[in-house]
């Protein structure tokens, strides 16, 4: 099975880019020294990490010392939110986030609710855009942190981060954004966005899994999350994952350098895909048509269970994704689509196709063809 895969799930993860892999390779078996050791042998990995840090800083327009390597998006989100909450609990206990955040943010906030914090979950509009009025009105004297994602992982909607950044600056509230789905897909400038903290994860932009970054603006008060050694300027303990850090650095540099051309290419593929899929009776698009990361389409196939569609596509070697899977692997309706006002039924009928570096026109055509066949078959049962 699975001889020829059509991969339409770049939003879930991406393959490691060959150049990225090449840069990582020497740091497994050759330059394996512990970057925190004193020996000359450790200088090579230490400098490699330094270079990676510079590359990340350059990519998001911040200082090197504002970049902290973590184990991925989930750790970065946990650190930013819990670290800020605990550091600032004397000045307040109110946190604002949105209903459509990734579980790494939502469940962290829910945990904090059990620790004496109050959390406001801001609703979103039909297009998946956070309701700014609601957000502003939710701010009170106890508000210490706002965490809103930059791009939604399911529908790709870009949130009004700059506006929220302005509000936070005015009111002196810490502002974190989960940019896991955005980095590599759009240009991100932390100065322009006025964010204090930003999470990213390498495997979403052709880097390896298990490595991420938390950007923490200088001067921000954030408690440590991992306690232990003095790594990462004593902010994040644990021996540095040198090859992965090197990979992340190369991956962000490489994907950032091709954003403008890739955006045009992916948008045109997506528009072709949408045009043809929407010709199928009973389909509609979820999310915003303009403010959206380029490779994302999320489509509702009314009256058809996306679970079935997903399996039927998979049997033909086409990978896409649906809502969220529970620990056993069965699917639950998406909290994001429900927050956008879709019924449970329509939410269960929706599916994400996310395009990336290897997506071709031929693949798009084959996917549409397969979809049409599968839907015809389902309707004949």
């Amino acid at each position: 099975m699975n001889n020829k895969i059509i991969y339409m799930d770049y939003g879930a993860t991406t393959p490691v880019d060959k150049d990225v892999f090449k840069e990582m390779e020497p740091y497994f078996c050759s330059f394996y020294g512990n970057p925190s050791s004193v020996s000359a042998f450790s200088l090579e990995p230490k400098m490699a990490i330094d270079k990676a840090r510079s590359r990340v800083a350059k990519a998001i327009n911040c200082k090197r010392e504002e970049i902290f390597f973590t184990s991925g998006g989930t750790e970065s989100d946990n650190w930013a939110i819990k670290g800020t909450a605990f550091a600032k609990r004397k000045s307040g206990n109110h946190i604002i986030t949105s209903e459509i955040e990734h579980p790494a943010v939502l469940n962290t906030c829910r945990y904090l609710e059990t620790q004496g914090f109050d959390v406001t979950y801001v609703p979103v509009k039909k297009n998946g855009m956070v309701d700014l009025d609601y957000l502003e009105k939710s701010i009170n004297s106890k508000t210490i942190l706002i965490s809103i994602m930059l791009a939604n992982n399911e529908v790709g909607t870009l949130e009004p981060i700059e506006e929220i950044g302005k509000i936070c600056t005015e009111k002196n509230i810490a502002f974190h954004t989960d940019a896991v789905q955005a980095i590599g897909n759009i240009n991100v400038d932390v100065q322009k966005l006025k964010v204090d903290m930003l999470s990213m994860s390498a495997h979403k932009f052709y880097g390896p899994k298990g490595i991420g970054v938390l950007y923490i603006k200088k001067g921000m008060k954030v408690d440590n999350y991992f306690h232990g050694g003095e790594q990462e300027r004593a902010r994040r303990a644990g021996t540095e994952n040198t090859p992965a850090i090197v990979g992340l650095g190369k991956a962000i540099e490489k994907s950032n350098s091709s954003i403008s051309t890739e955006t045009v290419r992916l948008k045109s593929l997506r528009d072709k895909f949408l045009k043809e899929v929407l010709e199928i009776h009973g389909t509609s698009i979820n999310g915003d048509l303009v403010n959206r990361i380029p490779g994302n389409s999320n489509i509702c196939f009314h009256g058809i269970e996306a679970e079935t569609l997903l399996m039927a596509l998979d049997l033909q070697g086409i990978c896409a994704s649906v809502g969220s899977a529970c620990s056993a692997g069965s699917l639950e309706p998406s909290h994001v689509l429900m927050a956008m006002g879709l019924s449970e039924e329509n939410s269960r009928s929706s599916m994400r196709f996310s395009f990336g570096s290897s997506t071709s026109e031929q693949e798009v055509e084959n996917t549409v063809k397969a979809l049409k066949e599968i839907i015809r078959n389902i309707q004949n049962v």
């Binding site: 099975m1 679970e307 079935t308 399996m311 039927a312 998979d314 049997l315 529970c326 620990s327 056993a328 692997g329 069965s330 699917l331 639950e332 599968i374 078959n377 389902i378 049962v381």
Partner: protein, 358 residues
């Protein structure tokens, strides 16, 4: 093109070997585990129960080993609606339902079959020990080669359409042989113990389960005798079933048995053992397999529960919807809500739900 079959894989040895056998027979096999329980961490933590998290992982490992595609589908809502809720409701009405029969009728051979067809499959398959075959243009079911494992009792509701699209390769093997095959092909599940309890109540304590689900509906009441004399207090109707002797919680100085459960008055009637032997019952919700209905009385062997021995009986039609079953000799603890299932030797004729005991 090969015929395509979706195997319902529970992670147990029977359905695992089913997938293997069908693959050997040249089918394109897809493995699917139906996730049927509502979200409940306690369930997910439990080991070995059918469809628990660890069972899903077992099924996935087997599928990987056999190199077949594998998925988990979410049937929680429909399972709750069609199996769990009616199960609870019937217990609260003083009956003793068999949820496997409801699951086969509404889930495995209905919703699951539909799902399989939507995936472009020709058949579903399960690890049931019974044999489906075609004779004179009609699909029939006969008992398994392994009399001890025979599962035809829970299959009497199958329609011709369902039988046409169902494969049960285990029926021609003995259980021991199925385990041997599993071992031969290197499946770790070869020595997994058989699941005999109700899958969504792994500790087998259905009374406590219902009490947890519907705390308001399970009420204490009286044990009474035939004439209505109060003999003591019971914990709630759902804790009892006809013929039960153990766990009544009271010493009577002589063996007593649950003789009847009266939902209307919330009473459990106790009596001596002779009182629970009966000869006649009325059954409804009928289905027949070799024919659509019966118009004349027929002579059968009838089983009144999964584990009971068949008893010679006559089945008399009562209009279109019901039958009266008269046993040759009295049988022990006929129970409302259970199914009475009819056989002609090895051939499964059909059955229905026991509605009344005469």
């Amino acid at each position: 093109m090969n015929k395509k079959v979706v195997v319902g894989m529970s992670g147990g040895v029977d359905s695992s070997v089913t997938a293997y056998l069908l693959k050997e027979q040249g089918y394109d096999v897809i493995g699917i585990t139906m996730q049927v329980w509502p979200e409940d961490e306690e369930f997910q933590e439990r080991e070995n129960g059918c469809c628990s998290l660890s069972s899903v992982e077992d099924a996935r490992r087997v599928a990987y080993k056999l190199q077949i595609p594998f998925y988990v589908i979410n049937f929680k809502d429909i399972f709750k609606e069609k199996v769990i809720e009616p199960f609870i409701d019937e217990y609260l009405k003083g009956q003793t339902p068999n949820p496997c029969i409801a699951c086969n009728k509404y889930i495995k051979f209905d919703a699951f079959l539909k799902k399989a067809k939507e995936l472009g499959a020709d058949y579903v398959s399960t690890g049931h020990y019974s044999t489906i075959y075609k004779e004179n243009g009609r699909y029939l079911i006969k008992k398994s080669e392994d009399d001890k494992k025979d599962q035809t009792y829970v299959l009497y509701n199958m329609t011709q359409y369902q039988l046409e699209h169902t494969l049960m390769p285990c029926g021609t093997y003995k259980k021991d042989r199925i385990r041997e095959i599993a071992k031969e092909i290197g499946l770790n599940v070869h020595n997994k113990k058989d699941s005999e309890e109700i899958c969504f109540i792994p500790d087998n304590d259905h009374g406590s389960y219902i009490k947890r689900e519907r705390p308001q509906s399970v009420k204490e009441g009286n044990f009474v005798d035939d004439t209505g004399n109060i003999l003591g207090k019971h914990k709630g109707l759902v804790y009892y079933t006809i013929g039960q002797r153990k766990g009544l919680g009271i010493a009577f100085g002589k063996p007593v048995f649950v003789k009847d459960i009266k939902a209307l008055t919330n009473e459990v009637v106790l009596g001596n053992e002779e009182g629970i032997f009966k000869k006649e019952l009325i059954a409804g919700n009928l289905n027949f397999i070799p024919f659509d209905k019966i118009e004349e009385p027929i002579k059968v062997q009838a089983k009144i529960r999964y584990a009971s021995k068949p008893t010679e009986a006559m089945v008399y039609p009562l209009g279109e919807e019901k039958v009266r079953v008269v046993f040759e000799k009295p049988v022990r603890a006929i129970t409302k809500g259970q199914s009475v299932v009819f056989y002609n030797n090895d051939l499964l004729l059909g059955g229905g739900i026991i509605e009344n005991i005469l």
